[in-house]
């Protein structure tokens, strides 16, 4: 232990040891060394080093420390893997007289319909709760299944790749990917998605779409995961700036006191920032649920008329008074229904969107309760369906062409060998950079408010 204590004295800066080294050795000879003394010397040596280190040494030490800490943190983060499979979907004509453009349009519409079905709530919940997969088991214990389905949707990637040449006229490649912490389950899930995609493709499909006159869901009402407002990041940043300004203003008005001490600026800034962050949580969240539908065969004027019908007082009153939705209960106690309907209209968007293939209704509703927002969007889609039924029926086109799609698996689901995230090198590097920045701050503050310590050997009287 005595030897260890002597080693600890070597932690002290050279200048300091030149001045006090002999005295400290003499003291250790008198006290002896135990674990407490060794620890005390270690702490004292490190503190004295920090008081005397130049910026370069501090930057290296804190940079290395940050790098190691970052690497440690990166190891604790769960790895995420992605498994992918590639399929080729080719449309085959049943009617040889079908024009090529119809075939291509039919293929595009068919794939859109297959993707929508594959990513529907019913299909995904079936995959999640499949006992062989048992996906998101931990999350399902603490979250509603709706939220878990949204998580899974975000983890599934379906990308369409155009194929070159003549094949591209009637076929597309589809890349299906799934990200998950368990690489085996990632592969098995992609296999399940691929199998289901192939099953969906078995049914024949009409090339000229699109079940004319029938409301088809292009995007199901979303369950929003994060609020559209308030933007807490912006609020906290404004609080940070306000904290800095207030701290400097305070300092300018005082010649003595806390604010003149080192790190006072940082402390005041931190307090104001934290206070702002806390206050931002008093602002209620606003979530937005969105959906998109199309009705093939309807003109722009038809759809505009349907939109006006849904936004009418009668229809919206029915939505507000729907006992399943319980909308605006508090407002209805103090405001007339007309005013409540006007308030609802401010949060409801029903727009017409022209695409090359169709005209879509996009429906959005924002409110503080994300589940209710989704239910309201569903209710509005029901009203659009009702409004569509009120319109004159569409005359079906003669001899609809029928095509079939053939799916071929180009690449089986792979078993990933390395994770796509986290990027552990980047995290470690960020830790190192933070360490260097911290060293710079310490050096600046120390130089500004505290002179460099001096251990003059000639202070000792002769």
């Amino acid at each position: 232990m005595n030897k260890l204590a002597v080693w600890m004295t070597r932690l002290y800066p050279k200048g300091w040891r030149a001045r006090y080294g002999d005295e400290l050795d003499a003291l250790l000879a008198d006290t002896g060394a135990d674990a407490r003394v060794v620890t005390d010397l270690f702490r004292g040596g490190i503190r004295m080093q920090f008081k005397t280190w130049s910026f370069l040494k501090l930057a290296i030490a804190l940079g290395l420390g940050g790098l190691l800490l970052g690497a440690g943190v990166a190891q604790l983060l769960p790895s995420i893997y992605i498994s992918r499979a590639t399929l080729q979907i080719a449309a085959t004509r049943i009617d040889e007289n079908m024009p090529a453009t119809s075939l291509r349009n039919g293929l595009n519409a068919r794939i859109l319909q297959m993707e929508t079905q594959l990513l529907s709530r019913t299909e995904l919940s079936r995959i999640i709760t499949n006992p062989r997969l048992d996906l998101y088991a931990t999350e399902r214990k603490v979250k509603p299944l709706e939220d878990v389905i949204e998580d899974m949707k975000a983890a599934i990637h379906v990308d369409f790749i155009a194929l070159p040449g003549a094949l591209g006229e009637r076929a597309l490649a589809v890349d299906i990917g799934f990200t998950y912490p368990d690489r085996f389950l990632a592969r098995q899930t992609v296999q399940a998605l691929t199998d289901r995609f192939m099953e969906i493709s078995m049914t024949p499909y009409s090339a000229d779409a699109r079940s004319e006159g029938v409301l088809q869901v292009v995007e199901t009402p979303s369950l929003p995961q994060s609020p559209i407002s308030p933007n807490r990041l912006v609020i906290v940043f404004m609080g940070f700036l306000a904290g800095i300004v207030m701290a400097f203003l305070w300092r300018a008005t005082r010649k003595t006191g806390f604010i003149r001490q080192p790190l006072a600026i940082a402390a005041v800034t931190l307090v104001i920032t934290l206070l702002t962050a806390g206050l931002s949580y008093l602002i209620p969240n606003q979530f937005r649920s969105n959906a998109a539908v199309q009705i093939a065969g309807r003109t722009h004027e038809d759809m505009r008329a349907m939109r006006e019908q849904v936004l009418s007082r009668t229809v919206l009153a029915a939505v507000v008074n729907d006992p399943r939705l319980l909308l605006y209960r508090d407002e209805l106690k103090t405001m007339p229904l007309e005013d409540v309907i006007e308030q609802m209209k401010k949060h409801l968007q029903i727009d017409l969107l022209r695409t090359p293939d169709a005209i879509l209704f996009t429906v959005g509703f924002d409110g503080p309760d994300r589940y209710k927002d989704q239910m309201v969007v569903n209710a509005i889609l029901d009203k659009l369906d009702w409004a569509n039924a009120q319109m004159p029926p569409i005359t079906p086109r003669p001899q609809p062409n029928v095509l079939q799609s053939v799916i071929e698996v180009l690449d089986q689901p792979n078993l990933p060998t390395s994770p796509i995230k986290p990027n552990r090198y980047v995290i470690a590097a960020i830790g190192g950079i933070i360490g260097i920045v911290l060293a710079a701050l310490i050096a600046i503050i120390r130089r500004r408010w505290k002179p460099e310590p001096d251990f003059p050997v000639n202070a000792i009287p002769e």
Binding site: M8, Y20, L27, D30, R36, V37, T39, P461
Partner: protein
């Protein structure tokens, strides 16, 4: 009170001492056992502030003495503490 710099000044107020004597004295009057690192950290700060200075000695065990500025600082700190102790005790007394 456990601030090492005040403990060292209080010890030296009685008379010049070297490090080991200071440690023993402080343990006796304050019940605080300062480690060598803590003690010499305090001695370093006090000497930089000009509140103590080393005394001529041929031994490695160098004694220190409190300076007039050090006495003034100790007086000021202890008066402040005394006021706190007096107020606290009076508030603890049953009404």
């Amino acid at each position: 009170m456990s601030d090492p710099t005040l403990l060292v000044l209080a010890s030296l107020a009685q008379g010049d001492k070297h490090g080991y004597s200071m440690m023993l004295d402080i343990e006796t009057f304050a019940g605080v056992k300062l480690g060598p690192g803590t003690l010499y950290g305090a001695i370093t700060r006090l000497e930089q502030q000009g509140w103590i200075r080393p005394v001529k000695s041929t031994d490695r065990r160098r004694p220190y003495t409190i300076t007039p500025a050090g006495r003034g600082h100790l007086q000021e700190q202890l008066s402040g503490l005394q006021q706190v102790v007096k107020t606290g005790l009076s508030r603890l007394r049953p009404a």
